[in-house]
Symmetry: C2
Subunit: 354 residues, 2 copies
């Protein structure tokens, strides 16, 4: 682990916006805290991060972020427990994945200490911004953008690593209806689908808009070859429960290695739930929906935690999933959020005190 040779500098905001915020009625990711962390990559090295008042970013029109989509991000949350202590959930996993994304997008890797010390220093300063309302949390967005300039299609020579925070309520309200995609796709074999690269998300907007126009909330992504396998749900990993087995697809270069996904798998095993990590075909899901063995489907990700699916559309037919009194979704969401909010024992060692 590289360590920082210089301490992070902090320039405090002169005034706080915190009293303008209605913490009881937070939307998702649209209100920002007083400070942000900024760390520049110039002259071949990441410079010492600094914390400054939350403020606009100024870039040259020729900055490569504007032209070539060279950007990556992470999504994290800070949780406050009843005693007022602040917690993160597996932050080292976010750092590792940020660097996996960085490699694929030809962005210089960020030292672990810059990420973790930067994050914890920022959160200590912004601790009052972590909501105490049930179901709310401080959403944290670390991201790297190519600030280096030039119209030549090649990696930039300068980058900005930024962490911004947004006190947030739920990502979705209630269950979602999804459309299994038959035409569009999210990622290619040998592509960047496994990375949290900006471009992976913009490509989903149009097909998702078409699905919304048809009355669905999200798209279930399938492989780009034959649309035969179920891969992701919107910007989440997807789980299906057939009979009492919980199934999710394997990670690959097309599928994001979700931290919620792998935590849910471990918790499910710990709960004695049979799990399978294997390709899920559209056919088996449709068949299981028809014969009643498809008990549940849900998306899993940091922003939405677990997002239960009410039903899905496929080839013009709608399939409803049953309302269960004892769903895996509810049980697993309670287990994971109890760990995140320090309401239960953390036998996996996932909590990280700020």
């Amino acid at each position: 682990m590289e360590t920082m040779t210089n301490a992070i500098t902090i320039e405090k905001s002169k005034t706080s916006k915190i009293h303008d915020v209605d913490f009881e009625n937070l939307s998702f990711g649209s209100t920002y805290t007083d400070h942000m962390l900024v760390c520049d990559y110039v002259d071949g090295a990441w410079q010492t991060p600094k914390i400054i008042p939350y403020q606009p970013i100024t870039l040259e029109p020729s900055a490569k972020i504007f032209h070539y989509g060279q950007s990556i991000f992470e999504g994290m949350k800070a949780y406050k427990d009843e005693a007022g202590k602040a917690w993160l959930f597996r932050p080292l996993e976010n750092h590792k994945r940020l660097n996996k994304s960085a490699e694929r997008l030809a962005i210089p890797e960020l030292p672990e200490s810059f990420f973790i010390e930067g994050l914890t220093t920022l959160l200590q300063l912004e601790k009052d911004w972590i909501p105490e309302t049930p179901g709310s949390s401080l959403y944290i967005r670390p991201f790297i953008l190519a600030s280096g300039t030039g119209f030549h299609a090649s990696p930039a020579d300068a980058y900005k690593f930024i962490i911004a925070c947004a006190p947030s309520g739920s990502y979705f309200s209630g269950k979602v209806r999804v459309l299994i995609e038959e035409k569009y796709s999210r990622s290619a074999n040998g592509g960047v689908g496994y990375a949290k690269a900006g471009g992976n998300y913009a490509g989903q907007f149009y097909p998702t808009q078409l699905a919304i126009e048809k009355g669905y909330n999200q798209v279930i992504w399938t492989d780009d070859n034959n649309h035969e396998y179920i891969e992701e749900a919107g910007a989440m990993n997807i789980f299906a429960r057939i009979n009492d087995t919980l199934i999710t697809g394997p990670t690959s270069d097309r599928i994001l290695d979700g931290i919620t996904r792998k935590s849910i798998l471990e918790i499910a095993k710990d709960e004695g739930i049979d799990t399978e990590v294997r390709n899920i075909t559209v056919n088996e899901v449709v068949q299981a929906a028809k014969d009643g063995t498809l008990k549940e489907m849900f998306g899993a990700g940091t922003a939405a935690v677990i997002s239960p699916i009410a039903g899905f559309g496929y080839k013009g037919v709608d399939y409803d999933l049953p309302e269960l009194s004892e769903s895996y979704a509810t049980r697993l969401k309670k287990r994971i959020t109890d760990i995140q909010y320090n309401r239960a024992e953390d036998k996996f060692g996932w909590r990280y005190e700020v």
Copy 2:
């Protein structure tokens, strides 16, 4: 065609940088002119464009361009003829493609008049910046970025359309050696490969770096399924000449509908060259290289015009292409640049006077 209700406003730069520029030794896309065009999409409509001094752009840290790669661009050139007149090449095609890209990236379409009037007004102001040195031109970069804010993964509600210009020399110097890709890929069926979306380019950087480390200049992209078909060359379309037939792949949702590509096809037909638009397999190219029937390969695109390929690597073997005294690449490049620089008759009606 929508027309603008208000005239474009022009705020002139107080000083010019033009005398600092060495027009005899221009690199590609790294020196920018005195002015830029900016047009904002807010409140559900594109506002009247304005021309302002070339200057940095200021955006919120939560602007969606930084997180979700929602951006598209075009590449164009302005050419100066011997009489000092300035010309564009098929600019309406760029506008059409910009809007095709916009649709796929869930960006509001830009009216034709905003594009064409904005572009010509800017170029009239920047006319002195169009190089007169042979092989040089004014590279023009129209682009749209998502300026609207929020960490919710959904389309932005505000955008900026910008045109910036850079007097430029050649994109590549001399012939390139390319590596036929066996692992990575550029685009998916049902994806955004046909759009000039920022994210399509960032995803190419890492595989291209790996190819450069092996001694090649560019990657030849193949399909993501079996890496069986040749699709694009770096950020260009690709042509192969087997015996005397000029072949290029069909456009699809994976392949960019290049303006140089389709112009070259028309010129080749006009020159009496046999052309085929069909899938090209890696196997046939390797086989043709072995038996000597592969006479030429070249990339075609606005930035590089025609970029001849000296040889390619595939599965650890290098194949050299012959040096021809009468290559299609040279002949077609002369035909198209003669039209672009107003040195020859424009029977196709492609030139557009600024």
